[in-house]
Symmetry: C2
Subunit: 209 residues, 2 copies
Amino acid sequence: MKKEKVSSAVIRRLPRYYRHLSALQRAGVVRISSNALGRNMGLTASQIRQDLSCFGEFGQQGYGYNVEKLRGELSDILGMNCGHTAVVLGAGNLGRALIENFHFELSGFRLSAAFDVDSAIVGTSISAVPVLHVDTLEEYLSQQPASVGVLTVPGKSAAEIAERLVRSGVRGIWNFTNMELDLRESGVVVENVHFADSLLALSYMISEE
Amino acid sequence: MKKEKVSSAVIRRLPRYYRHLSALQRAGVVRISSNALGRNMGLTASQIRQDLSCFGEFGQQGYGYNVEKLRGELSDILGMNCGHTAVVLGAGNLGRALIENFHFELSGFRLSAAFDVDSAIVGTSISAVPVLHVDTLEEYLSQQPASVGVLTVPGKSAAEIAERLVRSGVRGIWNFTNMELDLRESGVVVENVHFADSLLALSYMISEE
């Protein structure tokens, strides 16, 4: 399987499959047809079969998918069992909200530390995650490498901190800053969280023709 | 144009078109071909033409799109000029981060108030947005209706607050709580923000085969 061949649209659907299968498993569903899974997710059965065929053979003709098994295989495909680690850059409101409320471990990530410049919080912990001074970022990451930097710093610091994360060897940046980061040459993957895209889709759906 | 006919995949791409056109306009680009816009966005030119054809005739064969004009037309399609209003439910870390840092007005929304139960913040303002007690929600919305409720309350309160928003006449709920809200019968649109989907897509992209 060549990952480069998998389209971005398919990649975007993988977490949704995983999420729906998790809900089915919690609800006690053991087996599901691609038709039923499709209805559940607003996709056609053939779309689902085609998406999954990028990664091998799943399910059995006429028998559907074993929910627990497919969920497990998706977690492997998504890299959830790779032992990924994350650090949060910026422990302001958003950083704090993610540290306190977002379950990194449910996505296969261990959140090891947060970094900030504010002397009032450096040295404290948030939900057992230590808040360190950003001046110690490089030293920390040389000892405890991180797969991903979660960027929740103010926009004006985004480019500088992103550069420092790249030089310190992270493989991905989860970017909440709304600033465009051009790191293509570095090979580091940037995942942008665009809240506005979500609100505008809602705006579309509630607006009159 | 029948909105029901527009697929969810197309709806999801509309805010991205708007975002890319906004960046082009800021960069001083006056006109762009569907080929160049496609390269910019990782889509094919024919995909773009097909998406936009759901909403009428845009651009001119061989001349491409006028950036400012198409951006304006997309803002109309997205309902950004409808005078939408929003209230935030829950002024904790995430609610506060959105109030302070998210530019609702750039998505065509006026944020009129926030609601919380914490007596330490009720009666204060966050970035000029008044924080009111959630007990006054119904009274407030009867005087000042809101198009959308932004749900950033703890998960255990999500269903109850969502019900109260529905009864108070909102048309959409922007749901950050990670709780499934089943409001289909009410006709209220729920837009779920799934941070984990974004992190898992990143996890996929940084993981070895």
